[in-house]
Amino acid sequence: MADLSVKIAGVSFKNPVIPASGTFGYGREYAEFYDIGKLGGISVKGTTLERRDGNPPPRVAETPAGMLNSVGLQNPGVEHFIREEIPYLKGTGVKIIANIAGSTPEDYAEMARRLDETDVDMIELNISCPNVKCGGAAFGTDPEVAGGITRLVKAATKKPVMVKLTPNVTDIALMAKAVEAEGADAVSLINTLLGMRIDIKTRRPVLKNNVGGLSGPAVFPVAVRMVWQVANAVKIPVVGMGGIATWKDAVEMMMAGASAVQVGAALFTNPYAPVEIIDGLNRYLDENGIAGVSDIVGTVQPW
């Protein structure tokens, strides 16, 4: 048994596999398949200050080796999360990553303040949701704004703060450096790539929101490249995501520089994907005589 544990921004995860925000709810649904306490952590559904209803359906479209979604941050609000979901998650023993999204920079700070006294282990700033009109991706494409939100949140909480970055930018390493400079304890990437599908029979976009976020194996090579670029640009840990479906993908992403991985769309193809990735990582490490999963992080040797 290799050592699968990883430490990110002072938080110890029993393994580096974390379901990604928005794909795993608050864990209850997948708890019908397996003990979610086996997971390294859970990045829960993106939470806003007030309850949000989300976008009208259809909210999903299939794409080659991937999918588009335009959920638009539907969630019951931070107070409901604190009251109803944190105690449940705490009981499972899994590390809790609260994912928060604001309409204004002050929203982020306010949520961080409210989460400060709770049992969440880490706060992930969603400054890159492509499916909301206020904030969202607009915050994530401007280094000044992203850095400013980070600074406000850091001042509002003692919890470790991880900033989730959008790939829809010219230079993602620049964004990572901007939030690192303002005190971010980690970055996670990539959020979804903005995409669109059109129904050629109706001549209408498949998504009622017209555009949505692309995820799934299709985006994996873009995610690996960006994680590699960011890991080479910052000193804080990088959590890699984007199209990871197998333990091999997880190994590749960690070699590119990710200290842990998040798994999203793969859950919809295979609900067991995260636990199979954990088992696969364990086997891989044992078969290759590698003592701990951290030993492979960032080990790619560029030509």
Binding site: E29, F33, P58, E62, M67, L267
Partner: protein
């Protein structure tokens, strides 16, 4: 655990009409757990998203589920290519299912691919249920004999009159309502049909449950993509077809 995931053999495949296939899968645990109105989520080779398919019949003794699917696009076309003996990766049973009281006088209303989920439901009423089925035309009509075998009466309509009467299921429902004192109406079909069925049920003061359809991803309530407009205490919100449904009391829905 009531939820089952695995690869289950396709033991019987029939083409019911052009583009409509009946699949019988051997899956004893899922069959044991299944209720009428629930659905399954099938993995399609080479596609990322599973396809939700209503359960048409449940045979607990044989340990099988019967599904009827319509080829609508590349994904369902790929599903339709499965042959007897192939194994299909399935998540089942999913969703809530219909609330059934076999002592009640019930009408089941199905339109197009909304017809299959009404069959297992109709059977639960031991021959007392009335069925109203609607199809585009004769070539797209399915399962008529199955309903005749288990219902007190089966009224069939096609848009063009090529089979049964020319008209819509609402015409049949009106006829039923005028001659029978119904306790409950169940319906599945296009949204416009559901709207009209609910209107008729409301006018007649009969309870109504409808089964909804929406594009899905996880199928278990975690991803929030299969939104449908609901209302509670006068406040509207988005519920989710896979978990809050697919069956809803008509009073819960905003259509």
């Amino acid at each position: 655990m009531a939820l089952h995931v695995g690869s289950y053999p396709l033991v019987k495949k029939e083409e019911l009409a052009k583009g409509f296939y009946s699949f019988t899968l051997s899956c004893p645990e899922a069959a044991e757990a299944a209720k009428p109105g629930q659905f399954v989520n099938l993995k399609v080779p080479e596609f990322s998203l599973r396809r939700p398919i209503s359960i048409c019949e449940i045979d607990k003794a044989a340990g099988t589920l019967r599904l009827v699917l319509e080829v609508r696009g590349d994904g369902t076309e790929k599903l339709a290519a499965f042959e007897e003996g192939d194994k299909i990766d399935m998540l089942a049973p999913l969703g809530n299912g219909f609330a059934v009281n076999p002592a009640e006088k019930a009408a089941v209303i199905g339109g197009g691919i909304g017809v299959p989920p009404m069959l297992e439901l109709a059977k639960r009423f031991s021959g007392t249920a009335y069925a109203v089925l609607g199809f585009r035309n004769e070539d797209a009509s399915i399962l008529e004999e199955d309903f005749r075998a288990c219902c007190a009466d089966t009224l069939l309509y096609t848009d063009d009159g090529s089979k049964g009467e020319k008209g819509f299921v609402t015409d049949g429902l009106k006829k039923l309502l005028s001659r029978e004192k119904l306790d409950v109406i169940y319906a599945c079909g296009p949204e416009i049909m559901l709207k009209n069925v609910i209107r008729l049920a409301d006018s007649a003061g009969v309870r109504c449950q409808v089964s909804m359809e929406q594009r899905m991803a996880c199928g278990v309530g975690a991803c929030y993509v299969c939104a449908c407009r609901m209302v509670m205490d006068g406040e509207e919100y988005y519920g989710h077809v896979c978990k809050d449904g697919p069956v809803f009391d008509s009073k819960q829905l905003v259509l």
